[in-house]
Each structure stands twice: as C-alpha cells, then as structure tokens.
C-alpha cells in the first residue's frame, strides 16, 4: 500500500493505493490518521478509488479512525468506494456506519452542510 495525503480547506484528504492488508504499511495509514487527529484535524476524507482490496485489518483501521474522530466531534468520510470495497462494506454492514460519497468533492462539500 502507498499513501498520499493533502489538506484542502482544512479538510484532510488521504489517498491510499493498493491493498490494505495489515503489516507495516497498513500501520502507516493508522498512524497518519491519528497524527492528523492529534494535530487538531477533525475532518478527514479517505479516497478509496485506488484501493484494490482490504482485509479485516484494513477495515479495523477505518473503523478505529471513524470512532476516534467521532469521539473528538470530527468525522471520517469515505469517497470513491469501489465495487469490491462496497460489497465488503455491505456484507459487514459497515456501509450503515460510514458516510460514503461518490467523489472527494462531494465528501468535502458534505462537511460544510
């Protein structure tokens, strides 16, 4: 997995690429999320368009990011969820937990509402 991240209008956009399957690079995503959280960034969008697959560890990271931000009155939103990830989120019913958007712009816009 590779990770790029940027901040637009105070909203963090993280773009992981490849497979989120646990191990050191999955930890990177986790650490980065929590780093932003500690630096008072409470609005984070994860762009999943380039994520091929994730396993339970990957899901765990998303969930932990979601709950941590929520506990700090922030929000984690998912954008560009691919069909494969969509089905994973559907089966686990995490789709009912996460806010998902068709594009990063939509996700960013959702914060101002």
């Amino acid at each position: 997995m590779k990770l790029s991240d940027r901040i637009e209008n105070g909203i963090v956009i993280m773009e992981p690429k490849g497979k989120i399957m646990g191990g050191p690079d999955a930890t990177l995503l986790h650490d980065k999320l929590h780093e932003y959280l500690e630096n008072e960034h409470r609005q984070i969008v994860i762009d999943l368009s380039k994520v091929e697959w994730m396993n339970s560890t990957g899901l765990g990271i998303l969930i932990s990011g979601y709950t941590s931000l929520k506990n700090h009155n922030g929000a984690l939103k998912l954008a560009n969820v691919t069909d494969k990830i969509q089905s994973l989120l559907t089966i686990t019913k995490l789709i009912t937990v996460f806010d998902t958007y068709d594009s990063v712009e939509d996700a960013i816009a959702s914060f101002s509402n």
């Binding site: 646990g22 339970s56 899901l59 765990g60 969930i63 089966i91 686990t92 019913k93 995490l94």
Partner: protein, 749 residues
C-alpha cells in the same frame, strides 16, 4: 678525602640504581628481547661505576699505595665495556626490532669481540709475550726445527710488536672503537626515528637519541682531552669522562623507559627497594648462619662431628635458591598482581561466559575479568546497537551518557582495521574534531581491544591504564587477544540465543493461540434425529480468528454461532474466547437475539480497541418447527438452499461487533423445510485464490451447493473442499476456513 668519599658514594649509588633498574627491566618481561637487551646494557653500565667505586674504597682503606694496573686480574673490571656493544644492540632493537631483518645474524655476536679482546690482551699480555718470545728465541738457534720455526719466528716477532702497540695504546684503540659503536647506535636510532609514525614513540625515541648524542660527545671530548692534556690530569679525566658518558647514555635510556612507556617509576623504586632489603636480609642471614655453623651444629652433634658442620652449610646453600624463589614470588604477588596464571584467567572466563547469554551480563563478566585479572582501571564498551543501527559507546559508572557514533567516524574506521589489541596512540592522531577520539580521550582510554567476527567489527573495548599504573606487558597482549576471541564467540552465542528465543516465543504464541482456538471449538457437531450437521474447520498457518459453536438451549432448540475475529494470532484467539464466554452467558438470560448482540457489542467495545472487531452470525433453530431466528453482525451472508435450489441470504442483523458503541441489531426468522440446506462459512472459503489471484467467490460456492444438494452435509462439504483445493491448493489455507452445513430431514411435529 671528603671529596673522594662523596665521589665514591655517588658512584656506588649510580651503579646501584643502574643495576636495580636493569634487574627490574629484565624481570618486567623476561621473554622480550628489548627488555633483555636494555636490562643487560643497564647492568654493564652499572658495573663501570661499581668497579671504580670499589677501587676507590680499596685505595682509601689500604695505607700502602698499590698500582692496580700492575695486577693483571684487576683488568677484569673492563668487562663493563660490554656496555658499548649492548648499546649498539639496543639501538638495533629499539624502538623497533630490526634484528629480524639482518642478513648476517653473526653480526650481533661479532660486535662483542672487541671488549673481550681488550680484556684478554690486558690480562694475558705477559704470558703472550713470554710465549711469543720463546718462539722468537727458538727460531734463532740452529737445527732441523729452525727450518720450520724460522719463518714462524718472523711472524711472531711482528705479532709481538703488534701486541706491544696494542698494549701501549689500548685505551685509544678500543675507546675509538667504542666511539664508533655509540656513533653507529646514534645513526641507527636517527634513521628509525624518521620511520616512526606514532607520536609518543617519536618523542620517546628522540629523547633517547639526544641522550646518546650527549654521551657520544662526552666520550669524544674525553678522548681528545686525554691526548692533549698532561699525564697527571689525563688519567683521572679519562676515567671520569668514560664513566660520565656511560652514565648519561644509560640514565637517558632509563629515564625514557620510566617516563614514557615501559614502567612506572614509583613501582620500579619500590620494587627495587624491597628486593634489595629482602635479599640483603636473606644473604645476611645465610652469611651469619654459615659463620656461626660450628656453634649451631656442635651442641646438637657434639664436638667431633665436623662433617655435620659441612652438611649444615651444604643444606643451607641448597635452601638458598628455593628460599630466594619464594621471596621472589611473595614480592611479585604484592607488587605485580597481574602475574596471575593466565591459564586460570582464561579457564575461569570461558567457564563463566559459556552459560551467560544475556549481553549485559556478558559485558559485566568481561569488565570484571579485565579489572581483576589485568588490573584494568576502567573498561568502556563500544558495541553495535541493532536498534539504532550504529556503534554506540555504552555508559558506565563514570560516564552515564550513551554516545551514538557516526558511521563515518575516522577513528572508528581505523579501529575497524585492527586485528588485535593496540595502543590508542598507534592509531594516529585524530584530535578533538573526531568524535570517537574526543570521547576516548575524555575517558583516558589507552588500549583498544577489537572484537571481530571475521571482517565484521562487533564492537571494541576501550581500556584505561592499569589501576596502579602498570604497563601492559606482552603477556597481557596475548591474554587480551585470546579473551577477545572468546568474547566474540560469547557475543555471537548470545545473539543467536536471543534470536532463537524470539522465534520460540513466536512459535509458542502461535501454538498457544491454536490451542485456545481448538479448545474453544466443539469437539464434534451435535447429533439430532431430524437434521444433520457437519463442520469443516481448518486453521491457517498464522492462526486467524475463526470460531463456531453449538449451544443446546431450552426446548431442545440449538444455538449456532459462526464468527471471524479481525487480526491474527493471540489477540484474535483471546477475543474469540471472550465472545464465546459472553454468548454462553447471554443465551441463558432468555433475551431476544438482537438485544443479546447489542449487549455483547457494548461489552466488547468497552474492552477492546476500535480496530479489533468480530463478524458474528448467531441463530437459534427450533427442530420441531424448523424455525430459525438469527441476527447477522457483519458476517458473510449464510445461505439457505431450498430443496428446489432456490437460494436465500441471511443478511438481517447489524454491523460488526466490538468496534462501535451504541449499535442496534435486528433479527429475522426463516423456516427450514425438509431437505433445505443451511450453509454458513467464513471468508477463508470465499477468498481462496487461484494462481492468478482470482477468488473462488460466492458464485462458485452457490453453484457447488446446488450441484451437491442431494448429498448429506458431510459429503457435500467434502466435495466442496475438494473443489476449492483444486482451485487453490495452498496448504494450510491462506486464511482460516470454517464451514457449517445443516440439512433438515423432516420436521419433528
């Protein structure tokens, strides 16, 4: 008179000092050639003033004036002239042993010939002259023998003239030869000084050189003065000049030895002092005992037994050497404690380290050995630290700060080239800018002992001076070399041990996790008369968190659990254990399934971190009615394949358990009819992959289920697994794989 007395005492003292020094230098390291040569040189240098002083004492004490030069044996005192060839030998041995490169080894013996000829000429001059004169006389007589003797007589008469010249001008001839010796020694020292790279050795050698040059000029001046002064002054000047020159030369060498490298001056003096006192007492006691032997023996054996007196003396003499040795050892044990038996040190060290596998404890033993066996004052460790991937100067009781060394440290590279113990200064002058040089300098490190595994430097020890200022002997160097090899072996062993422990821990954790998992799982599926259950559960190598359970409930209902914990290994196994305990305690409370999952979620969320969660499916089957009430918390949808091959998914429930608080769950109810199949599985089955990373997938599963529906659950699972293994032969499977198949036969009405 008073001047003479003062002069005599001065000569005695200087000779005594030189002889003591010579003995101590030799004792310091008997096997080193430098010590042997230096010791011998100092000894013969000490003989000169000693003989001169003795002569003066005899002169002072004898009323009749004797010309000692007239007594041939007196000339034996010339033996001190051996000093000069020894000086030359010293220059060939110091500061580097050059004798090894000599093409003609006999030179080192040949240089000793002149002083001996000198002595022989002086002592046996009269006999030789008589002998030669006899043949000269025989050659002049008539007869047969004169035919042979006549030419010989001519040769002998020439020899006679040569000898008388030598006899007359012996002082000039031999002392000029000795000047040549000293000059050659100076020249040799000068050339070797130019090749020296070590700064301290250079200072040391240049002091020796200057001393010898001074000695040379005194000697030259003396000889020149001897030629031009009147006979009255010449003789006394000559003696004083020669002795002065010898003293200057040897005192410089002695000073250098003490001041710069070899020995500790206080130790030398203390030791020499104790040796003198103890040996004087010993010899004195012996002399008294021998003199008084008659008085001691007589009361014991009676007056007639004179023979016992001799036996007593012989016994005393036989005892002298062992007693002397005993005193020797005693003094050494007091002064030079480092002369412990090195074999014992090595044996003890290797016995200690063989069982020690903790690096810290190992360093402690090394430090202790250095301090007790070698009297090293402080030991510093520089080791490669795996966590920072750099060499680190470890803290100790004096310097509490850990110093991380730069990889490109110049001095570190120099240490890397060492193969054995080496004085720090021989590595060259690095100055204050080089970190390692600065740090070692601050710590007064004197000696470096590298620990190398082949070409790889594991680390090194920095040793300060010995506790009482003793220098490191060549025996110490040998010991250090062997110790360093043993340390390397021990360090490697410790490293291998730590690695194997870690591997073992991992294996243990895996097997414990597996054990927990296996113990939690039911040993066999329950048996019912109207439906059949079959289970297949296969753990992966890394142990995931698959779990299933069957719980017998009231009214002969059956609770079925299938779950998959996120993550692997021990944490997953523990989470599963927790879930199982909660389910088993909750089901007996007779609360709705949805509420039960909510309760479990609340408890799990409170006790685990949010990235850990469980997908869980729980259902209760009433075998009488075929009613199946379930709730699916984020698990892969279980499938019902109806007898007519219609497929239904059991989706109702909520999301995963253990990560998000305050969740609501729903439950749903289905009814199973005869020959309907309930099929539950974990993602290990659906995510099996072929070599192109194509997943086996739920479609294939459903197709197989429809195809195999006529089989009983056991065969159905068997055939399905066969098909999956053909698709993905990885064994054990990539992920835990669990399948539960339940097929209704008929309903119990």
């Amino acid at each position: 008179m008073s001047f003479n007395l003062f002069n005599t005492i001065l000569l005695f003292v200087s000779s005594g000092f030189l002889i003591f020094l010579s003995l101590t230098v030799i004792r310091d390291n008997l096997r080193s050639r430098l010590n042997q040569v230096t010791g011998a040189m100092l000894f013969f240098a000490g003989l000169g003033p000693l003989f001169l002083a003795l002569g003066q004492v005899i002169n002072l004490s004898t009323p009749v004036y004797l010309n000692f030069e007239d007594i041939p044996v007196y000339n034996l005192n010339r033996i001190w002239e051996v000093f000069f060839p020894l000086l030359l030998l010293f220059a060939w041995t110091y500061p580097e042993d050059k004798l090894r490169y000599f093409r003609y080894r006999w030179i080192k013996y040949a240089i000793f010939i002149p002083p001996f000829i000198h002595i022989l000429v002086l002592i046996y001059y009269d006999s030789i002259v008589l002998f030669l004169k006899f043949f000269e006389a025989a050659g002049t007589s008539e007869g047969l023998s004169s035919l042979i003797l006549k030419p010989l007589a001519t040769i002998f008469s020439w020899l006679l003239i040569l000898f008388s010249i030598v006899r007359t001008y012996h002082a000039e001839i031999f002392y000029f030869a000795y000047i040549f010796y000293v000059g050659l020694a100076v020249y040799n020292l000068k050339t070797s000084l130019e090749h020296l790279t070590s700064a301290s050795l250079r200072t040391q050698a240049s002091v020796v050189l200057r001393g010898l040059m001074l000695s040379l000029s005194i000697l030259a001046l003396t000889l020149i003065g001897f030629e031009f002064l009147t006979a009255d002054y010449a003789d006394s000047l000559f003696t004083v000049g020669i002795i002065l020159s010898t003293l200057v030369g040897s005192v410089t060498v002695a000073y250098t030895i003490i001041r710069y490298q070899f020995l500790n001056v206080r130790l030398v003096l203390r030791q020499s002092f104790v040796y003198t006192i103890s040996y004087s007492i010993l010899v004195g006691t012996f002399v008294v005992l021998i003199i008084k032997s008659r008085e001691i023996v007589e009361p014991l054996f009676g007056q007639q037994t004179e023979i016992f007196g001799y036996i007593f003396i012989v016994v005393l003499l036989l005892l002298f050497l062992p007693l002397g040795n005993w005193i020797d050892n005693l003094i050494q044990s007091i002064f030079i404690r480092n002369r412990t038996d090195y074999r014992n040190v090595l044996e003890r060290f290797s016995r200690q380290i063989i069982s020690v596998l903790d690096p810290k404890q190992l360093r402690e033993i090394i430090r202790e050995t250095m301090q007790t066996a070698l009297l090293v004052d402080t030991v510093y460790f520089v080791m490669f630290d795996d966590s920072v991937e750099e060499y680190v100067l470890l803290p100790n009781e004096r310097f509490s700060k850990k110093v991380i060394l730069a990889r490109d440290d110049h001095m570190l590279s120099a240490v890397n080239t060492l193969t054995g113990p080496e004085y720090l200064h021989t590595l060259g002058n690095y100055g204050y800018d080089v970190q390692l040089s600065r740090e070692l300098d601050e710590r007064n490190v004197r000696l470096i002992l590298p620990m190398k595994e082949g070409e790889h430097l594991l680390g090194f020890l920095g040793l300060t001076d010995k506790a009482a200022g003793y220098r490191y002997t060549s025996e110490d160097f040998n010991l250090l070399r062997v110790l360093s090899n043993q340390m390397v072996t021990a360090l490697i062993n410790a490293r291998l041990y730590v690695e194997s422990i870690e591997r073992l821990k991992l294996q243990e954790e895996v097997s414990m996790a597996r054990q927990i998992q296996l113990e939690l799982l039911p040993s066999a599926p329950p048996i019912f008369d109207n439906f059949k259950i079959s289970v297949h559960s296969e753990p992966s190598r890394t142990i995931g968190g698959d779990f299933y359970d069957f719980i017998h409930l009231k009214d002969s209902r059956l609770g079925i659990v299938i779950a998959d914990a996120s993550g692997k290994g021990m944490p997953a196994a523990l989470m599963i254990a927790q879930i199982q305990a909660m389910i088993r305690s909750e089901v007996n409370n007779n609360i709705p399934i949805a509420q039960m999952l909510k309760n479990i979620n609340e408890q799990m969320t409170a006790s685990t971190s949010p990235e850990k969660f469980v997908t869980l499916f729980y259902g209760e089957l009433n075998p009488k009615t075929g009613e199946f009430i379930y709730s699916n918390a984020g698990h892969n949808y279980p499938v019902i394949v109806r007898a007519d091959k219609q497929i239904e998914h059991l989706k109702t429930g909520g999301t995963v358990i253990g990560a998000i608080p305050d969740l609501e769950f729903q439950s749903a109810s289905v009814r199973l009819g005869p020959n309907d199949l309930l099929f539950l599985f974990t993602d290990g089955l659906s995510e099996a992959q072929d070599e192109n990373e194509v997943e086996y997938g739920e479609e294939r599963i459903k197709n197989m289920l429809c195809e195999q529906l006529h089989h009983d659950p056991e065969n159905l699972i068997g055939n399905l697994i066969k098909d999956v293994r053909a698709f993905d032969p990885t064994s054990p499977p990539r992920d835990d794989t669990t399948i539960i198949a339940l097929k209704m036969n008929h309903l119990n009405r």
